[in-house]
């Protein structure tokens, strides 16, 4: 298992370097004028030149690339071109906020979606199954920003049941924070319910049809025993992989949801930086999101290896 983890970690580092390089190329090689973008169209050219000089954006490309890579290794991403504040604390706060929102969305989605998927699989082709499939398809085909807007108008503006912006007041307690995050989390959960439920259903149906499940039933195990001992561990493997990808996606910030609910998670922060050519923030943000993706995938691989000994043994060979 240690060898498996080591190999996965090394692969992750390689991926991280590739990611940092691609982000650097996009941010630095494509034509743009950072000084002009920051100061705006009305600023005199001499001010733009002076700013580019101060920011170092007119230095040789290789010099900037080396600095950028050193920054990745030391986690020193420098100061924002726009606010002149260190990048890392800003992004740490943003990823923290995204984590809270994504966490709540996942807490809502995962148990309900897995239960719905199992429920549907055991009632394959019956009305209950059709209902779950239809619900899943519908919920995952409506974009988050549509769901979010409807929730804002109905639940927030008309019924005034929940806050329409997700940023809680300063020093808010846990329950207040939860209340503020509930609506955007619901908007995200509705979409991901469909993905996870359908994946769980498909995995479960496949396992339910397998020989070892039939054997378990024939040897006299109850349905509950069969499900827990033999079906779940195998049926949920694809679901775990899907959830891992979704975690990275959710932590990266769902820009549409963050905008609708005025929540400054990673999505809004990155968009704000992108609009202003704030290269240090963009680079650091992309790398942090990449790290989250890799950790989520690694965790999923470990869970899958734990769930299925065959995969574990293959990895150790």
């Amino acid at each position: 298992m240690a060898r498996f983890i080591t190999r996965r970690l090394l692969l992750s580092l390689l991926t991280l370097w590739l990611l940092a390089t691609i982000v650097f190329i996009i941010a630095n090689v494509l034509p743009n004028d950072v000084g002009r973008t920051i100061l705006g169209p009305f600023a005199p050219q001499e001010s733009v030149d002076a700013l580019n000089e101060r920011l170092g954006t007119n230095r040789p490309l290789i010099e900037r690339y080396i600095d950028s890579m050193v920054g990745v290794v030391t986690l020193d991403f420098g100061n924002s071109f726009v606010t002149n504040q260190p990048v890392l604390p800003t992004l740490a706060a943003a990823i923290g906020r995204s984590a809270k929102l994504a966490g709540l969305a996942l807490v809502i989605t995962i148990p309900i979606a897995i239960a719905a998927g199992l429920f549907a699989a055991r009632r394959r082709d019956r009305p209950a199954d059709r209902a779950v499939v239809l619900l899943g398809l519908t919920s995952s085909s409506i974009p988050e920003f549509v769901t979010g807007t409807i929730l804002v108008v109905v639940v927030g503006v008309q019924l005034k049941l929940l806050p329409v912006i997700a940023t809680p007041p300063r020093n808010a307690d846990f329950l207040t924070e939860l209340r503020y995050l509930l609506m955007p989390a619901l908007a995200m959960a509705i979409v991901y319910f469909g993905y996870i439920a359908r994946m769980t259903r498909a995995g479960t149906i496949e396992v339910l049809q397998s020989d070892y499940t039939r054997t378990a039933t024939m040897k006299g195990l109850t349905t509950r025993q069969t499900m827990i001992r033999h079906v779940l561990r195998n049926a949920l493997i694809p679901t775990v992989a899907v959830i891992a990808v979704q975690i990275g996606y959710l932590f990266g910030g769902i820009i549409a949801v963050e905008r609708i609910f005025n929540y400054n998670g990673m999505g809004q922060t990155m968009l704000f930086a992108a609009q202003r050519k704030d290269i240090p923030t963009l680079t650091a943000g992309a790398i942090i999101i990449g790290i989250v993706y890799m950790l989520a995938t690694l965790a999923a691989d470990l869970i899958i290896a734990w769930m299925n000994p065959r995969i574990r043994l293959e990895a150790e060979r």
Binding site: R36, N84, T90, R259, F261, N262, N264
Partner: protein, 574 residues
Amino acid sequence: MDYSRLDPVRRSVTPIQLDLVEAFANGRITRRQFIKRASVIGLSLSSVTAVIAACSGGTPSAAPASPGASASAGASPSASAAVTGGTIRCAIQRPVSVDPVGMQDLGGYGIVAQSFEFLMGQSTDPNNPGALSPALAAEAPVPNDDGTVWTFKLNPNAKWQHDGSPLTADDVVATMERLVAAGNSGLKGVLDPGGAVATDANTVTFTLVGANGNFPYLVSIYNAQTVITPKDYVAGTTFDGRPTGTGPWKLVNYNQQTGATFERNPDWWGGQTPLDGTEFIFFDETGPMITAYQGDQVDAIVQFDVLTGAALFNDPNFTLIAQPAALHRQIWMRVDKGAFADVKVREALALTWDRPALIQQLFQGRAQIGNDHVIWEGYPYFDAAAVPQRERNVDRAKQLLSEAGAADLTATLHAGELQEIPDLAVLLKSQAAEAGITLNVEVESLNTFYGAAWCPAEPADPPCSGAADLGIVDYGHRATPDVYLNAALKSKGIWNSSQYASAEFDAAFTEFQAAVAVDAQKAACTKIETILNRDIPVGLPYFYNYLAGNSNRFTGVFSSALGQMSFATTSQVA
């Protein structure tokens, strides 16, 4: 005319002030223009009152100038019953920077102005939106006879929040030095290093590069970076890095991502604020601001546009602050090349515009008709009689096009993705089509629009010579039209995308800049209006209102047209 009241004022004022008094007494300027101009050149409130009374035969309600003055076009109306205490939550654009010297955005202006103050603030007189009133200046400044030297007496009660020390002339001088060194756009070419001198602890004298009748505007709320900072303030320091100021609110917390909170400054020279504190919530878009208000999560909105905020107009619980302002769009037409080089073609296009319909459709009536020149009707030197209003005349447009040999004119109209501009472009296209003009609308991202269509960096000489033949560009509010005239219209101006070059116009602009007396300013503006309306290097269909507002659970909310919302006199309605 009651000469017994007028003559004492005539004898006591300076030559520039006397000129203003005579202009009003002889009916050459309106009462509103008189009061607004009086606030700039230091005519005392008692003199203003006496002159108006002498000329009207009654006792006028003169311009209030205290921070506790009542409602205006820039303020929500005061209610009779109000309670103290509480907090107001305000939606504001997320600031890019809160560095008082370097800030460039409305969000930054709005936050910094909560604690820092200007020499001159904005009057809250309901009859004179946009007039100045002293803030950190004890009274309106007094110019010398030719307007080259302006003397400001400072408010003796103003104190710094961080140590309770009084505001001094040295603080003002140091602030001005920092601004001049940073190339502040309002002070550039007006004030040189060393131009501001402390003549005593409470008096600052500004010796200008040349005569300037509008100098107080340049050190007022209308030049947002001229907030007075302490002598030892270091340029580049952000407000949250060193929270202080002389204003009504003390910064408690600032988070660039989410918002800022303020508490009452008990030592404010203007007295105790009715509210205990204020909370600013940052937004990146207007839409969520509106829903946040509708969902009862904010009480005030610093700025919104008509299209996004239309739902608020019919909300009985919302107090709309619709402030007439010089905000406008210029439709530039290249005068040096292409289809619009012939003035007949430019006039033909301008004649196709149904301006009242544009205002109704784009702003629901919340704008004023423009007449293809940049002198806004709110300026004291605006001359309504200078040129007749250009009105839609499709037949005349067709005739002009025919005379110019451009009966089948086809052109590309460039427009940036900003507020109502894409819709304006579409409306202009349909209106022009009735005269046989085919406009192909190109809506572009703002970076592309500014960088490629409006004013490309290359070729650099003359500036903007790479601009497209036709486009719509946005201009913000300015207390004086100098920037519009100097940058967009003067020969080789840095934003002159029409490539307009007129010796006659340049001379009129120079005359305007040097004019100090109101008659001279108005005379210069009459020329400017006439020349621009005749030459039409830019079409200007409207000036639109700056929109802000608040829940009617609060009263006494005040807003400038530059993102500065003031809650110093705000209270909750009982």
